[in-house]
């Protein structure tokens, strides 16, 4: 029995996609020119499909701090956070993030994926309930599978649907409500006020994943909860360094007095090596910079609105009525047009993301663009123009 046979249908499905010259799952970036441009297969390409929203990957202070940390502490810690893997830098980063969120405690994980695994699996015990949005990121679903709680799902961003489900749960049971600030596929923002109010009404503790929204939402860039003024209803935040922060890693913050016990019970925190000191140092500098970057945030939002307006005016079928985040997604009718559009656009010199089921809700095919604070208004106009040209080439009717 060949254990890989069970994936034959996936191999067939991939083989059936009509790519001719490129494959979205095999793109190799040969050279990075800047936060917004790269060389892909020898072609000069505008990057419009990274998560580098705040353009921090070449932030000078972050680069400098990483280089110094490399020289001083070496390339890695070779150990778990709870053994030899906690350096002064890790503690300083945790203090920086706690301060950034105005909370008491922070735990730094090796990725955001692990932060969700570690928080959800530890908080949701055998007799507890974890209530999640149907469109949650895979790391939230996997955190649920890893733990022993009963998992209840509510309709995406629907507070009324959530309330109907919460009503059916035992009043005195432990409950964790998990939602995201911005959902990464459509780029839509969550109605956090309504969702968190319902959660609190039914006695839930709340966890908000601001993976995408950290950096550009809210006055200080803390995320959608800050933007909406509902931070007092958030018990735990989860976030990542792999998007606006521009490196890799994850974190959870809280003011709960017993928070630190999670360091001893959260397996994805314990049974993996800690982040290298250089990454920790650049994350620290980058988060400090994000806090001060009000102008950059404003420019990022201008870019997002310019792109959304331009594509909408051109007749594309937009996933949101207006720009709710720097993620701007357009619907494509089917897999054939979807793949051809993505490929042609790449050859026109724009890298965007093709998103297909199961990563997308309701079987949608999307072309997902994410803008960066460093995109110039000319680059955004160029992206719009190349989108129009691509639609023409692949025969996508947009009027």
């Amino acid at each position: 029995m060949d254990l890989l046979d069970k994936f034959d249908s996936i191999v067939d499905l991939r083989a059936s996609l009509p790519f001719e010259k490129a494959d979205p799952f095999k793109v190799v970036i040969d050279e990075v020119i800047s936060e917004t441009e790269a060389v892909i297969s020898g072609r000069h390409t505008i990057l419009a499909g990274t998560n580098n929203y705040m353009g921090m990957t070449f932030n000078e202070e972050a680069l400098e701090a990483a280089k110094t940390a490399l020289d001083d502490f070496g390339t890695g810690t070779t150990g778990s956070r709870v053994l030899n893997g906690t350096y002064g830098g890790h503690k300083a980063l945790e203090a920086t993030i706690a301060d950034f969120y105005g909370m008491e405690h922070c735990m730094v994980f090796s990725t955001g994926y692990q932060a969700n695994l570690g928080m959800i699996s530890a908080l949701g015990g055998k007799d507890d309930y974890v209530i999640i949005d149907a469109d949650s990121h895979a790391s939230i679903y996997d955190g649920c599978s890893m733990g022993n709680a009963t998992i209840v799902r509510f309709k995406h961003n629907d507070a009324e649907n959530l309330e109907r489900r919460l009503k059916r749960l035992p009043e005195d049971a432990g409950k964790l409500l998990v939602v995201e600030g911005i959902y990464s596929m459509l780029g839509d923002a969550a109605p956090l006020k309504e969702l968190l109010e319902v959660g609190k009404k039914y006695g839930c503790m709340t966890l908000v994943d601001e993976a995408h929204s950290m950096g550009f939402s809210g006055e200080n860039g803390r995320g959608v909860a800050e933007e909406l003024g509902v931070e007092h209803m958030v018990d735990f935040y989860v976030g990542t360094f792999s998007k606006s922060v521009g490196t890799v890693g994850g974190f959870a913050v809280s003011s709960h007095p017993k928070f630190d016990v999670l360091r001893f019970v959260s397996r994805p925190y314990i049974f993996t090596a800690s982040l290298p000191p250089s990454v920790v140092a650049s994350a620290t500098k980058s988060i400090e910079a994000i806090r001060r970057s009000g102008n950059r945030r404003a420019h990022l939002w201008e870019n997002a609105r310019q792109l959304h307006t331009g594509l909408k005016k051109a007749g594309f079928n937009m996933c949101t009525d207006e720009a709710e985040s720097p993620i701007i997604a357009v619907h494509l009718p089917d897999v054939m047009i979807g793949t051809r559009f993505w490929e042609t656009l790449l050859f026109e010199g724009v890298y965007a993301n093709m998103a297909a089921p199961p990563a997308t809700p309701a079987g949608m095919f999307l072309l997902r663009i994410s803008v960066c604070a460093q995109h110039t208004s000319e680059q955004i106009s160029e992206i719009i123009a190349r989108f129009k040209r691509t639609a023409e080439i692949v025969g996508l009717n947009i009027d």
Partner: protein, 81 residues
């Protein structure tokens, strides 16, 4: 074995999703007979939850392959409430 009334209600909820016009019976499977993908199954579960005013936890879904198994699970949960 679930009661006819429970099954009928569930058939009614499946009907709009039954694009292949598969025969609906307790042994009908979601994945093979109805060809529903996992996301559609989850949406169907949400409708069943609302219809019967119960919670069908996500953890139970892997064990529910047929319409009859879902009906049994629904009756068990309704009975416990």
């Amino acid at each position: 074995m679930a009661q006819a009334k429970t099954l009928e209600t569930i058939y009614g909820l499946i009907a709009p999703l039954n694009k292949k016009d598969a025969e609906l019976a307790p042994q009908t499977t979601f994945a093979v007979d109805l060809e529903l993908d996992s996301l559609t199954v989850m949406d169907l579960v949400a409708e069943i939850e609302d219809e019967f005013d119960i919670v069908l936890p996500l953890n139970m879904l892997p064990d529910l392959e047929t319409v009859g198994q879902v009906a049994d699970a629904v009756e068990k949960i309704v009975g416990e409430n």
